[in-house]
Amino acid sequence: MAWQWFHRLGSPKWFYEKTSLWLPYLSIASVLLFVVGAIWGLGFAPEDYKQGNSFRIIYVHVPSSIVAMAGYYIMAVAGAVGLIWKMKLSFVVMRCAAIIGIGLTFLSLFTGAVWGKPTWGTYWHWDARIMFTFVLLLLYISIMALHNAYAKNDLADKICAILALVGTVNIPIIYKSVDWWYSLHQPATIKITDESTIAASMAYPLGIMVVAFYALYSLLLILHVRAEILQRERKTSWVKNIVLSVSQKR
């Protein structure tokens, strides 16, 4: 049946076995992308004529912001799939995506602050993007906190999926309203450079770094999901066999 692959994808055991095969390739790909992107961006891309070398932090800041945002949708879609098709694996993905999402939004805020000091003379300025990322961090944290508050994974998964979906409806509204809010309050002294004018020689390594971050995100997500699967399926025989075979090798 056409649906068989879909259900098989929902089987933690199948996922665990398949990803064991993918992991080496994905690891190599993300390391390669990172090395190329970082060396190109940090070493060979030209200096910014106004910001000097400090602009190079965008090679971490921009990709982490983009993937943090996309990660929320990955999480919400995983939650929706779990609710609709009652797929436990999908809920595991949702939970793990929330944890990685917190890390990425934090990284985005942190690198933004580090970038802000030499460029605009302040670590923190409430502009639209910082405000939105801050709200995104809170949305991620609320999912984590809600999940941890429940003792049973089953119920926690479903409840968090609903919150993730509610957040998904809200994110465009929050994004637009924060944008509008800042356009009213923007002080004249701080003018943020428009990134659409970025030179091609700077943009290519940035593109590579964005892809590298996506690869890293997938890698982390798969690793985290595998760990969570082992934890949740610890009573099943296939997990017991894996654990036994590992301990026998030692």
């Binding site: 709200v135 049973k152 119920l155 919150l163 409806v169 809200n170 509204i173």
Partner: protein
């Protein structure tokens, strides 16, 4: 004729009708609120008592106060709504009323809607009616009073609706408190922006139609989606706890 017979036992006695059911639910909720009025009155009193800290903590200068009044009144309204949300569904969960609502076969969507309407009518509505007094105490420019009341009237309704979603997500935990605030706060961002934005604009004599159009859209969106999400969360909580 293998067709299963209609259940002759009861159908004659039972006929589902919508408006009596809505009337019944609203009546019950109001009765419950009236009997437990302290639960609702305390957040409102909190709303007022926070006010004295503003001149004490910031400044009694009327000029400064009038410039921060729109945002401040809105933040206070938001916090007061949050405080009163805690027990919205928990009591009915604990005493088994939600079970009875489920096995009655009635729509959880409308049950949640009635609860939200009643919650708003005893928190948002009084807050709106009290807001001119707050405006007066915080030296809000006179041009902003209508915008303040109108924005609170619409905005607090959205706050109640979104808050109900938060409360429903925590219903089987039997504890809300800080976690409820954490969940609901980020979702309140747009309401606060457009609510206080409208009052700010009115205070300096700018147009407020845009803000009110968006607040109105939020009311409609919240009316459809919030009870849907809350009902789903309640049903899932009941059936999986």
């Amino acid at each position: 004729m293998n067709k299963p017979q209609p259940p002759a036992y009861t159908t004659s006695a039972i006929s589902f009708s919508f408006w009596p059911f809505i009337g019944l639910s609203l009546k019950r909720e109001w009765l419950l609120v009236f009997r437990n009025r302290a639960d609702i009155a305390n957040p409102l009193i909190f709303f007022f008592s926070i006010l004295m800290f503003v001149p004490l903590g910031i400044t009694p200068d009327a000029k400064v106060l009038s410039s921060i009044a729109p945002g401040l009144i809105w933040i206070i309204a938001l916090l007061a709504t949050l405080l009163s949300l805690d027990r919205l569904f928990v009591v009915d969960f604990e005493n088994g009323s939600l079970d009875q609502m489920m096995v009655s076969g009635q729509s959880m969507f409308w049950i949640v809607m009635c609860k939200c309407l009643v919650h708003w009518s005893v928190t948002g509505l009084p807050l709106t009616l009290l807001s001119p007094v707050l405006g007066l105490m915080l030296s809000l420019p006179t041009t902003a009073y209508i915008a303040l009341m109108a924005s609170l009237l619409l905005g607090t309704f959205v706050l109640s609706m979104i808050g109900a979603v938060g409360a429903s997500l925590l219903v089987s935990l039997k504890k809300g408190g800080v976690l409820l605030s954490l969940i609901v706060m980020p979702l309140y961002v747009p309401v606060l922006i457009f609510g206080s934005g409208a009052v700010n604009n009115a205070a300096v004599g700018l147009s407020v139609t845009g803000q009110f159009a968006i607040l109105g859209a939020m009311v409609l969106l919240a009316m459809v989606l919030a009870p849907l999400a809350a009902a789903a969360a309640i049903i899932i909580s009941l059936r999986n706890h």
